[in-house]
Point group: C2
Chain length 436, copies 2
């Protein structure tokens, strides 16, 4: 059998331990499928003394993860440190500058520095792979970059954050409110102690910006993602959506509008008949619409040590296979970085769709007339409207409506007309309806 692919592991948290377990447990089948063994040779992490759930004695310890790529006993560095900058970025840069391949699960780093890193990889003719950065164990980067490569992708969207999906589906199942379910998720370890990255939609936006670049051949534009999290959702919103035939999911959605790129992370109402309506718990799912393939759906575990390790090692197997005999390793995105198009962010105004709008209003006469007049004046046509008695807050009443199809700009205009109204006890909440 050919020479092993020698791997250095930077970062020994949950995922790092998962990669070690996987490479050990499945060593034989990996060697058969890759055509040669994959062997972890060197490991590195910030704190050597920390107790870890796997035996590290078989591996050489390296204090400085930045020089891993320079070592003669390393062909590929796997970066599992996390964080957009800092040691992860230094390690990634240095690895490729040393002419070694890089595999990473670091969505923040790719979202912020993916273009620079890809250019470095192309210059050094080494692989840069990041399957584990998007949607955990689901091979969706490969599915889009290679499996759907023959298609012009028109739209890519999905459920990209397992923590949010766990919270939303638990709220749905139990009727409990957001803060309550979040606290429980934190206690159970399903949500971070500082959950902002997840519940504010930032993690999903990182992943979406990567998916968009792969799908459309555009430059990664993380700042261009319009991002709304799930923190303002109430149990009553979920109940109301349910009564109308929808569940609520945090959807990351990217599509081209001519030469512009629309990217948004926002809770959406998803109709019961849509495959994403049945994605529960920490599961992730990505839908891509190709001009020949039609709608493709990829679904699986969006996080966790096993699934993430599965994606990391799939990248290593790809590298082991493709670099045998000096083969081409391919470019990190669908096309070389120099050919990725800089697409300006598209305005959401002209987008046609239906929206759910929820107001919390003072319980007094004339409020409904004020809201519906604003809708009329902005040209928003209301399909259904429900006013519910006290929603728990002192004196506040919930008014929820679903609009007929129309431009998003009309809804924005209606909300502008209502801005500053003393009738509203908090800013309105808008969610788009996902089409069938």
């Amino acid at each position: 059998m050919a020479e092993p692919l020698r791997v250095a592991l930077a970062g020994l948290g949950t995922v790092g331990a998962g990669v070690i377990r996987l490479v050990e447990a499945n060593a034989d089948l990996i060697a058969r499928r890759a055509g040669r063994p994959i062997k972890i040779t060197v490991i590195s992490a910030r704190d050597r003394s920390k107790k870890r759930p796997v035996d590290l004695t078989p591996y050489t310890w390296e204090d400085d993860m930045v020089i891993l790529g320079e070592r003669a006993d390393v062909d590929v560095v796997v970066e599992l440190v996390g964080g957009a900058d800092g040691p992860a970025l230094s390690c990634a840069r240095a690895t490729m500058e040393a002419g070694k391949a890089l595999v990473t699960a670091n969505k923040a780093m790719i979202a912020h520095h993916g273009l620079e890193l890809a250019a470095k990889a192309e210059a050094a003719k080494v692989a840069l792979k990041f399957e584990a950065a998007v949607a955990g164990g689901i091979p969706v980067i490969k599915g889009l970059r290679e499996g759907a490569a023959a298609n012009e992708i028109e739209r890519v969207y999905g459920i990209l954050n397992g923590t949010c999906n766990y919270i939303l589906s638990t709220m749905e199942d139990t009727g409990r409110d957001f803060a309550d379910v979040l606290a429980e998720a934190q206690a159970k370890g399903y949500a971070e102690a500082d959950p902002a990255f997840d519940i504010e939609g930032i993690d999903a936006a990182h992943k979406l910006s990567i998916l968009a670049a792969i799908s459309f051949g555009s430059k990664i534009d993380f700042p261009g993602v319009e991002t709304t999290g799930i923190t303002r959702l109430r149990a009553a919103d979920i109940a109301q959506a349910h009564a109308l035939g929808y569940v609520i999911r945090l959807i990351g959605m990217a599509e081209t509008q001519g030469d512009k790129l629309f990217q948004r992370v926002q809770p959406h109402l998803v109709p019961f008949g849509h495959p994403l309506a049945h994605v529960d718990g920490a599961t992730n799912a990505v839908v891509a619409e190709g001009n020949f393939s039609g709608r493709l759906l990829f679904q699986g575990a969006g996080a966790g040590d096993g699934p993430t390790a599965s994606a990391v090692v799939a990248d290593l197997i790809d590298i082991a296979r493709s670099t045998m005999g000096g083969g081409e390793i391919g470019v990190p995105f669908s096309v070389p970085v120099a050919e990725l198009e800089a697409m300006a962010p598209a305005d959401s105004g002209p987008r046609l769709g239906r929206a759910y709008i929820r107001f919390m209003v003072a319980d007094r006469p004339g409020v409904l007339a004020e809201i519906t007049a604003a809708m009329r004046d902005a040209g928003v046509s209301i399909e259904s409207l429900i006013q519910k008695g006290r929603a728990g807050d002192a004196g506040a009443v919930m008014v929820a409506m679903v609009t007929h199809e129309g431009p998003e700009s009309a809804v924005a205009e209606a909300l502008r007309l209502l801005e500053g109204s003393a009738s509203l006890t908090e800013p309105p909440l808008v969610m788009q309806l996902l089409g069938e």
Copy 2:
């Protein structure tokens, strides 16, 4: 830009026309993604004079598809003729003997001759790719062979035949009977004039045998697939299943049992909560359970010219990318043919599960006692049982039951005890329940 990859197309039916349309429509993006243009140079089909929906004048006509691979203006032959043997097989063999790569959508040929063809491809060091042979436009061969490559796959199953799924979901929606819906599907062109391959489960079995080989690294064993179609299903079965919380889907299922391989195509009861319960119409879906990835789901259009062409051209892009600079093309299955294991077919008897059993019985006293006694004597524990009045047939009554979990051998034994009973007006129908 590098030299184009020159493609010969054998077979100009619906899919062939779709490939031509795709390669023309998406030529620019394909060239960017593949690193070089993909150019159809030569075409061939059985009947040159037949009218076809695409303009063929830009392409050189070759009468004899067997010599396509020998032509100097051809790098890859795409075989879209169909049929396990005959011209398709001759063309495939000759192509690789001539040292050229082969892409095919021909599930029957791969199911029957895939090992021989893969050995030829390996000997000639050329690519043999067949993404389009399984589940149309869904990149599931790539997803399993590469995306899930780090995993020991424990089970792979799914909805592999769009015609059957269309018939079953239409029966479900309309309450109509099988023969009626089949006739309509034939009139609409959703089912072949001779639908046996589809409705008897043979097409699904072809695809399952290929998925199993990729998933388990086993030799393709099409004769080892235990195959039951959907022809005996009644509207009443679907209604009964629905009342119990299930839909009926034709499921292809493969799993390892120690060093043996279990492969079955059979209608199953799928619980509402399972993702496959929401796969309607001609859609296909494949679930793979890996020991680290957990459950992965791939879903999309299982047939049609666009989706199938998308899969064919994805294979061509892979070849265009990997053969540039003389890179490795990889082996057709997950491991070299010589390393594929010959796994003996596993006996279904010890498999634990729950089953739906439906009897059509004479409407007279004592029949229910006879059936339940047989169940008792065979050790089958009944969870629920429904006897329904006349089901339309002269004098026959339907008795449907769902068993508690137990070995399949017990159900088989019960049915053996009832064999030849004058009370049964037709053989019992057994369907397994798919677990959550």
